[in-house]
Amino acid sequence: MQAMTAKELEYIADSMSNEDLLIKQCAVVVSTATTPALRNICSQMIATHQQHYDSLLHAISHHQSLAPTQPQ
């Protein structure tokens, strides 16, 4: 395994913001929508977006020990 690039870290951080926003948007649908099919899919999506968020966060912690402490 190699050290993560600065660009990769930026994409991971942006992706976590995206996933976080989607979790919240899906929660609003689950609590307000009246169409059952829409509520169901959004409640499933909350779980998937949470998994995505965890995977992204895990990727950062996985690479922490390989990251240099000085600019190279």
């Binding site: 395994m1 690039t5 994409y11 992706s15 989607l22 649908v29 307000t32 959004c42 995505h52 990727a59």
Partner: protein, 130 residues
């Protein structure tokens, strides 16, 4: 002024459309992230998240379509299909001629194998730059 807990400022149709747009944007972002990744494990992660997000977008679209929340685009006309089909049949014919010119007889009208391609590249490189 406080909104009731189970009321939203947007209609459910608007909320669903917003999520659908965001999923489409996130698909593009994961595709870009995957193509610009250097670490194989990070590329693999972005590729997996890309596929999951693409699936979710497709499922949400289907639910919206079945709930009449989505106006499907009008179908392409028969004559437009005929026109594009004819045009691109001509394009591939020209490209086949181009291949014949560049790669020569070695092809024998069939598609190349990787081994042949290597040879051809060698030959081609010489004639090309001489």
């Amino acid at each position: 002024m406080q909104q009731g807990q189970h009321q939203s400022l947007l209609s459910e149709e608007d909320l669903a459309s917003t999520i659908l747009s965001d999923l489409k944007r996130v698909v593009r972002e994961y595709a870009t992230a995957a193509t610009e990744s250097t670490c194989p494990d990070i590329r693999q992660l972005f590729t997996k998240l890309l596929n999951n997000t693409l699936n979710m977008q497709g499922q949400l679209f289907q639910v919206m379509q079945q709930s009449n929340m989505y106006n499907t685009a009008s179908p392409a006309l028969r004559q437009e299909l005929d026109k594009q089909s004819k045009q691109y049949q001509q394009t591939i014919q020209k490209t086949k001629q181009f291949l014949q010119q560049k790669l020569g007889n070695q092809q024998n009208g069939s598609f190349y194998t990787p081994a042949q391609q290597d040879q051809q590249h060698g030959n081609q490189g010489q004639t090309y730059y001489m």
